[in-house]
């Protein structure tokens, strides 16, 4: 059964001192893909500054606002309507010969094709001493190993807000064992890559009201590439496979490639940003 989603995103930015010039880039528009169909996109701000619709470095849609007038507070509000098709994550053909699959993944062509998503980034850099923290069982299928990794990540970390931030290293996350969806996703991606599976960081929305972790803000999960199957979404924060409840916005190597809000602001002093995300799904 398909779901029609209404998404409302509000960001309120307050600055201690007046801002002379600012540029904001929002990567918050749900992606149009085989399971998602955009119906409406609307975006406005409290200062009535016109916006551009552009793309980020990977071609995902962005909303860009440039203010050239002094300001100390601005509220952005976006609403989206979209149709999400029923997604059954288990609906695929088996991988085939396990040995051959791993052999393919070890091959040069595979490594070239998925190079960006096999790469270590600053946020997905596995510390040497944890090199063996999660090793695949190569007698099992890739998908089954990833299911195990999803569960392992879910059990290794405790969901706790306000203890980590965008600069928290993976080492700290592994050792302190807590974090939010970004941290779960970074850890999952890092370990999938360490085992030779291409993994990308996905930013998006999560259906609210089902009691999932991470649904009060924009959510993050991972997509991994399995030969003969394709990209499969894993949500390690909830020990789930991405399904009809997951609305994808963008992907990248890590959080920095698809963070929902990027800003370049010319001011001194502190600033405060608060976000509110409302996601409502109705069965069709």
């Amino acid at each position: 059964m398909a779901l029609e989603y209404s998404i409302n995103y509000v960001a309120n930015n307050r600055y201690e001192n007046p801002v002379k010039e600012a540029h904001w880039q929002f990567t918050i528009i749900p992606e149009a893909n085989s399971s998602q169909e955009q119906i409406t996109v609307s975006f406005q701000n409290s200062l009535h500054i016109p916006h551009d619709i552009s793309i980020n470095g990977y071609g995902f849609q962005t909303l860009r606002v440039s203010a050239r007038q002094p300001l100390s507070e601005v509220v952005f509000e976006a609403s989206f309507k979209l149709m999400k098709k029923e997604v059954n994550p288990f609906d695929f053909q088996p991988e085939g010969n396990i040995e051959q699959t791993y052999k393919k993944m070890g091959g040069l062509d595979f490594k070239i094709d998925f190079e960006p998503f096999l790469r270590c980034t600053r946020l997905t850099n596995l510390p040497m001493e944890y090199g063996d923290i999660f090793r695949f069982d190569f007698s099992k299928a890739v998908f089954d190993n990833l299911i195990d990794l999803n569960k392992w990540t879910y059990e290794h970390l405790y969901f706790k807000t306000n203890v980590t931030n965008v600069d928290t290293t993976l080492k700290e996350i592994i050792e302190k064992r807590h974090g939010v969806c970004q941290d779960f996703t970074h850890l999952f991606c890092t370990l999938a890559r360490a085992n030779g599976v291409p993994a990308r960081y996905v930013s998006g929305y999560l259906h609210q009201g089902n009691g999932y972790f991470g649904d009060s803000q924009m959510h993050a999960w991972a997509e991994t590439y399995i030969p003969n199957i394709g990209w499969v979404g894993f949500d390690p924060t909830n020990n789930l496979l991405a399904n009809t409840n997951h609305i994808k916005v963008a992907h990248g190597k890590d959080y920095n490639d698809c963070s929902p809000l990027k800003g370049v602001v010319y001011t001194v002093g502190t600033n405060e940003t608060s976000h509110t995300v409302k996601v409502k799904g109705e069965q069709q």
Binding site: H23, D52, N56, R64, L108, E115, P116
Partner: protein, 522 residues
């Protein structure tokens, strides 16, 4: 006479001050001129030749090369004092024109003039032909390599070069995957550093294809030399170097975005505190285009505009002298104030051309250099015209064996370190150090490459301290510009001189000087 002098000082107070600071020595020497004798090659009377080094002005038999003969005759009429005097004049002219540079991190970071020597380097037409063809060949091959690594990556799939060249390169921008730069050009401007080894052959030391600088010095050196030594210069049929800017502009215009009729080009600079700011302003001025900083531009609906007093003006081609990671704070380093928010999206949509293209830096990695002969052969099916310094990859067992046995004759370099860190020069190591390097290389063979120690050719250079000509090592930076179906190599280049005796490092930041470089017409 007296009044005239007085008027002059009033009119150019600055000039005089600077001149006077150098004056005591000069005046003394000027006085001596009256006793000048016309001994042949007097100014070279104390020139000492080390026979082990390749001297640019002598042929194999030890005679002065034909191209330098005339120069020798002409210089022979003068004394060293004349020369000293002229050199001082040329230097003050540099200072007055503001052609200076600063070294980062120096505590007393005074502006320095780029040490300049009036004794030119002369390159015969046949020799230049090799350099020029070689520079074009390399630039073309690197351009095809860049296209390939940002598209199908055939060269890696076919095992010609290893995966690590992109996989472990910090300069590889995966966001450039699948982007087609206008005209298919990535490295619009390349600076190829060549040296002559003691076997008399040219070797490339480095390909600089990020933001190579130095071309303004080439033109200023020529201007200064012509002013000081016109009587010598006009005895030679030398190619001009002042046509660089017009060629650069023409080729930049040839890669204008689709649908643009007459493109607006600009030069973007990090600002006046950048060590090469003089060059940025020089190039903008001579091309007749605007020199801008990031804050002078803005992006709207994925088009780039320049703020002018007449309102916004659309910009089509940007010659950028800002590194990749600083061009757009929304896409790359968020703390960059040098770039333009939204520029990369405008570029990806094909609405503006950036020269050089983002991500070009992946091809001037040290590791890529070692594969240049293979890269040239692969894309152009040609033998390299300019030699590469032979590189032993310690990851290959038989080459590792050779390296371990010949460390004192080799330079050992880590593949992934930049800026000269971790380099061991074999003939400068003690026995214990050689052993230590051996152990290190054996433990991490993949991390190291080794090259024979190159002996850069030497050229007579005037040395202030000894007030005489001495042999100093030189290299040559050439400048190649590529546009749509057209390329241009500046007939000349920057001959850089290592001013310290025996020093092989010719960088201006390390106290190197420069010479005018004459390429003779056929």
């Amino acid at each position: 006479m007296l009044t005239k002098f007085y008027l002059k000082t009033k009119k150019f107070p600055n000039k005089c001050k600077i001149f006077i600071s150098e004056a005591p020595k000069n005046r003394y020497l000027l006085g001596k001129n009256h006793f000048m004798t016309n001994l042949e090659n007097q100014i070279f009377s104390s020139y000492q030749r080390n026979p082990e080094l390749y001297d640019e002005i002598y042929d194999q038999k030890g005679d002065i090369k034909e191209v330098y003969q005339k120069l020798f005759e002409l210089y022979g009429e003068h004394s060293i004092e004349d020369y000293v005097n002229l050199n001082a004049k040329a230097k003050s002219s540099f200072f007055n024109q503001g052609i200076t540079f600063q070294v980062y991190g120096d505590n007393d970071s005074k502006e320095k003039i780029f040490p300049f020597d009036l004794f030119p380097r002369i390159i015969a037409p046949e020799e230049w032909d090799i350099i020029e063809r070689g520079a074009i060949q390399r630039s073309k091959a690197l351009n095809l390599f860049l296209w390939d690594v940002y598209h199908e990556k055939k060269i890696i799939r076919q095992g010609v070069v290893p995966m690590d060249l992109i996989g472990s390169s910090v300069n590889y921008l995966d966001k450039m995957n699948g982007v087609d730069p206008t005209g298919g050009i990535y490295n619009h401007i390349s600076g190829t550093d060549v040296i002559k080894h003691n076997d008399g052959k040219y070797y490339v030391l480095e390909d600089n294809i990020r933001c190579p600088s130095g071309v303004s010095y080439v033109i200023c050196n020529r201007t200064a030399l012509k002013r000081a030594l016109f009587g010598v210069f006009n005895h030679y049929q030398t190619h001009t170097v002042t046509n660089y800017a017009e060629n650069l502009l023409e080729l930049l215009e040839s890669v204008k975005p689709k649908g643009v009729d007459v493109p607006t080009c600009v030069v973007i600079t990090p600002g006046m505190y950048n060590s090469a700011f003089y060059e940025h302003s020089y190039l903008a001025k001579t091309m007749g285009v605007e020199l801008v900083e990031g804050r002078d531009l803005f992006v709207e609906n994925d088009f780039v505009y320049m703020k002018t007093i007449r309102g916004p003006e659309k910009v089509d081609v940007i010659y950028r002298r800002i590194d990749d990671l600083f061009i757009d704070p929304l896409e790359f380093r968020p703390d960059s104030t040098l770039g333009v928010p939204g520029l990369f999206a405008a570029y990806k949509k094909g609405n503006v051309t950036l020269a050089n293209a983002p991500g070009t830096g992946v091809a001037d990695d040290k590791a890529v250099y070692t594969y240049m002969p293979e890269i040239i052969k692969y894309y152009l099916d040609e033998e390299p015209i300019l030699n590469n310094v032979y590189t032993y990859h310690c990851s290959r067992p038989d080459e590792l064996k050779y390296v371990l046995e010949h460390i004192p004759e080799l330079v050992i370099k880590p593949v992934d370190e930049a800026g000269g860190y971790g380099i061991s020069i074999g003939n400068r190591l003690t026995k214990q150090e050689v052993e230590r390097v051996k152990i290190e290389v054996e433990a991490n063979p993949r991390k190291y490459v080794a090259q024979p120690i190159m002996s850069l050719s030497v050229h007579p250079t005037y040395i202030d301290e000894s007030e005489s000509f001495e042999q100093r090592h030189v290299d040559l930076r050439t400048f190649t510009v590529m546009g749509k179906d057209k390329e241009f190599v500046l007939k000349g280049g920057l001959t850089r001189v290592a001013l310290q005796k025996g020093n092989l490092i010719v960088n201006s930041s390390q106290g190197g000087g420069s010479k005018d470089t004459w390429v003779l017409k056929k």
